[in-house]
Amino acid sequence: MSSRTRDRTNEIGLEFTDYKGQPTTLCQGCGHNSISNQIVQIAFELNVRPHEIIKLSGIGCSSKSPAYFLGMSHGFNALHGRMPSVGTGALLANHHLKAMGVSGDGDTGSIGMGQFKHICRRNLRMVYIVENNGVYGLTKGQFSATADEGLELKYAGYNEFPPIDLCQEAIVAGCGFVARSFSGDPTQVRELMKAALSHGGTAVLDIISPCVAFNNVDHSTKSYTYGKKHEVPLHDIGYVPKREEIMIDEYGPGEARSVELHDGSHIILRKLESDYDPTDRLGALARLEEALETRELVTGLIYFNDERPSLAEAAGLKDSLPALAHLPDEKLRPSRKKLDEVMARFL
């Protein structure tokens, strides 16, 4: 980002700094900080209105980060592993809000596994970022369920168990937007985040985000060095906002594929891996499986499917309706006549 970006205001008259949060209290070099920065930037670039966003998280270093971006948006740092349920309540209470959720691999893959699976199944419309570092950062470095099998770390010791693949988990649970990225690849992170914000259901971003304090040894798949060396992007990604639709044609056909998102914007995927089709559920699972074996960090939009209604839609909360939270008393209390009618039925 050029220093010019930082100075100018965006189309809704906000400055870059308006999208910042409190100064971070995370470690210097922590991947999570980089991700927070990308959120600030895309919000600025997309002319996001801060009050239309809520920030959600569970507990952990990662889950602290919503304090460090979008200071003008309401935020809720909930309980360990329980961001999904809190998000479900909040987004049903006000289905016009967009949610930017940040969780950790411990928060999502261990204590939060159940809620994570069920939010995917219900297709709650929110961006669900997992800042995945293979350890519990905030409690000082124990292995999480995404740690490499056989990894040995100074504090955590030796890991006996195979890693859980959160992208596979999301896909199997019915999630329609599943991406993986690397905090060391900010460009890709940004494009994926933008697309995720435009998606009409749960959008899971599993972002490898190295913990420099506890899991940054070179052979760990969650380290910077490893990520830098082994990242395999499936495609080049470009996000095109709705109002710039016209530009889509600029992307030559053939090697690039354009996918329309819920809000009318598009994501352009320029294939790097020739036969990868992100709309093929099994193919996606297979590619993840392969990457697990080869220890590659495949990144990109791994699976996409926007056929299922979001939870709010399934609940009948149409876009045109006011938020439940803002309904006036008249809508909340049936008339006296109705009460009489109901009681009459009991007589």
């Binding site: 409190q22 801060p50 009050h51 239309e52 809520i54 920030k55 919503p66 304090a67 200071g71 003008m72 948006s73 309401h74 935020g75 809720f76 740092n77 909930a78 309980l79 329980r82 999904p84 349920s85 809190v86 998000g87 479900t88 309540g89 909040a90 987004l91 049903l92 209470a93 006000n94 016009h96 809000l97 159940g114 809620q115 069920h118 939870l311 609940a315 009948g316 909360l317 149409k318 309706l321 938020a323 439940l324 939270a325 803002h326 309904l327 008393d329 809508k331 909340l332 209390r333 049936p334 006296r336 109705k338 009460l339 109901v342 009681m343 009991f346 007589l347």
Partner: protein, 611 residues
């Protein structure tokens, strides 16, 4: 202290049987679970009610779907007593598996209707036996398959009606009600009933004193379960989100919500003004409620014991981050899975302190369907006014059984949405957790508020008045002191106690569904010369009235359905200087308390004390 145990099986009033017993006895119907006997039993209950006779029905059912014994108790009381009677004089013995025990429990002089096809019946010469040839009937009506069970149950309705004098018109009305007027179902059932009715007229010679007679005591009343009333209360109280996970006996709260919401709360275009989500478990259910409460919805869940345990962490968050949330705890018997289909008041202490650390929650105690309806809205009002968790402690007996009730009052007061700032009300001075008026309650903003200064970050960690993270010791102390101030504010605005007082030396304090048994016990005690005053708590924390009541009386008994005298303990802590004036009468065996137990226990303790 020697609290006498309830006796089972022996009728305290056996002996004085031979006078006519009109509208003053109890019926018990013994059947197997899952045979559809609920319909028959409710029909009897409703028919009696339609005859103007005060009634109450209590279903004593197993934690099972089909085949285990279940008992339905109907109390018929010209005096309007609706508490559980331990003894029933009229037994409908339609479950061979339990018939021996059932017959044994009949008081001397009692009567037993039974299935005459059974090979052997227990013998007792102090009761009256009426055998009904069930198979013959079934053959006659040609019932097959599942209809056999259903019709069998209608047979005892007809025979019983004949025997004790329930009017057939009342029964038909009741059936009509039950089946929503669908004649196709009502008619064949009425046919069986009529058949049995006529058969009984011809074949059974009345040899007992139990009879019902039309009265005029139920005019204007109706029958409803506490859970359905609670659901209606929530609907008229502005509920916008319910998240829940199935658990007996709370499930029917949500069933009733789902049944009534479309008609009552879809808007003109048929769009919902609410959402009901079945969550994956109780942790998720309460999480959704807390998320929704934060975002400005009136959100609730309904659960029971195990769910309360699982909600502890979120309860603490709601308490500490000050988020409105409502939990209906339809209490069943704990600890642990306990007796899932039996009633209790066993969650009081745990709910009061739900969540680790220093936590004090607001509790409401409805005693009847009317209060369930009322508290359906009150709970939201309090949660939003005080920005905290409110738990409504109902119980299985109230929630799942049918109770007579006066019509519900339409809520006149507007919804109390508490201190919420709109975009044009926010300014630089605002701080989410500032106590601006001494109530302890700060102003909040909702997500979506367009004012650039309206945003704040909600957390379960230490924070200052502006919701900024803080580990500062003094800020922690100030914040927690303010939260405690809200509890003091609550004392003044929660529903106060209901008092029935006439200068007696002895007081009784209770809460929730023990009320009818206590009222009956007081009459009994009064008849025996022991006068009592009565205060029914409707909420915690209490206000000064309670202390004054205890002070005014020599002794006050706290009656409740749990083992440890939980409310008794809470009250003692509220008034340690007069703690010994509070005596505990606590008992929990899963059955609703009976007046006899209360009266006898209190009497026994009185004797011990006064010598």
């Amino acid at each position: 202290m020697g609290v006498p145990q309830p006796t089972t099986g022996v009728a305290p009033d056996a002996g004085r049987q031979q006078e006519q017993r009109v509208n003053d006895f109890a019926i018990v119907v013994a059947t197997a679970n899952g045979t559809g006997s609920q319909t028959s039993n409710l029909t009897i209950l409703r028919a009696l009610f339609k005859m103007g006779i005060p009634v109450n029905g209590k279903n004593i059912f197993p934690s099972n779907i089909q085949g285990l014994p279940t008992w339905y108790h109907i109390r018929v009381s010209k005096d309007g007593y609706v508490a559980r009677r331990e003894t029933s004089e009229v037994l409908v013995a339609f479950n061979q598996a339990t018939v021996n025990q059932d017959v044994q429990e009949l008081p001397s002089g009692g009567i037993c209707l039974y299935n005459d096809d059974w090979r052997s019946m227990p013998e007792r010469d102090d009761i009256v036996m009426y055998g009904i040839p069930v198979n013959e009937f079934l053959r006659e009506v040609g019932a097959r398959g599942k209809f056999r069970d259903r019709f069998t149950n209608m047979i005892y309705v007809g025979a019983l009606a004949q025997l004790i004098g329930i009017e057939l018109e009342a029964i038909e009305e009741a059936l009509n009600y039950h089946f929503g007027g669908r004649q196709k179902i009502v008619e064949p059932n009425m046919e069986v009933i009529q058949l049995a009715y006529d058969w009984a007229a011809e074949n059974l010679e009345k040899r007992d004193p139990f009879r019902v007679e039309r009265m005029d005591e139920t005019e204007g009343l109706f029958l409803i379960t506490g859970n359905e009333a609670a659901a209606l209360g929530a609907i008229f109280g502005g509920m916008t989100l319910t998240a829940w996970y199935p658990i007996t006996p709370s499930t029917s709260v949500v069933d009733a919500l789902t049944a009534h919401l479309p008609a009552l709360r879809n808007d003109e275009e048929g769009n919902p003004t609410y959402v009901v989500v079945q969550a994956e478990d109780e942790l998720a259910a309460i999480g959704m409620v807390v998320g929704a409460g934060w975002a400005g919805a009136r959100a609730m869940t309904a659960t029971s014991g195990p769910g309360i345990s699982l909600m502890a962490e979120f309860a603490g968050l709601a308490y500490f981050a000050e988020i409105p949330a409502v939990i209906w705890d339809i209490q069943r018997v704990g600890p642990s899975t306990g007796l899932p289909t039996r009633t209790s008041q066993g969650d009081v202490t745990f709910a009061y302190h739900l969540g680790h650390g220093d936590t004090k929650n607001i509790l409401l105690f409805p005693a009847n369907p009317k209060e369930c309806f009322e508290f359906g809205g009150t709970a939201f009002d309090l949660a939003e006014e005080l920005q905290t968790l409110v738990l409504v402690l109902s119980d299985l007996d109230l929630g799942m059984n049918n109770w007579m009730t006066e019509p519900f009052d339409y809520p006149e007061e507007p919804l109390k949405r508490g201190k919420v700032l709109s975009a044009d009300q926010v300014d630089r001075n605002w701080g989410r957790y500032k106590d601006v008026d001494g109530t302890g309650v700060g102003y909040r903003t909702l997500p979506g508020n367009e004012h650039p200064l309206s945003a704040y970050f909600t957390r379960g960690t230490g924070h200052d008045e502006r919701a900024v993270y803080s580990e500062d010791p003094d800020k922690w102390v100030d914040n927690m002191a303010r939260i405690l101030r809200k509890f003091e504010t609550a004392r003044q605005i929660v529903p106060g106690p209901v008092v029935d007082e006439a200068g007696a030396a002895i007081g009784i304090i209770a809460y929730g569904t023990t009320e009818p048994a206590i009222e009956e016990a007081r009459d009994r005690l009064a008849a025996e010369g022991v006068k009592t005053d009565f205060m029914r708590l409707r909420a915690l924390p209490i206000n000064d009235e309670v202390r004054n009541f205890v002070e005014r009386h020599d002794r006050t008994y706290v009656v409740e359905m749990n083992r440890d005298g939980q409310m008794h303990g809470i009250l003692q802590l509220e008034m340690p200087d007069i703690a010994t004036k509070l005596l505990s009468l606590a008992y929990l065996d899963g059955m609703p308390l009976a007046a006899r137990w209360i009266a006898e226990s209190l009497h026994a303790m009185e004797k011990e004390i006064t010598g």
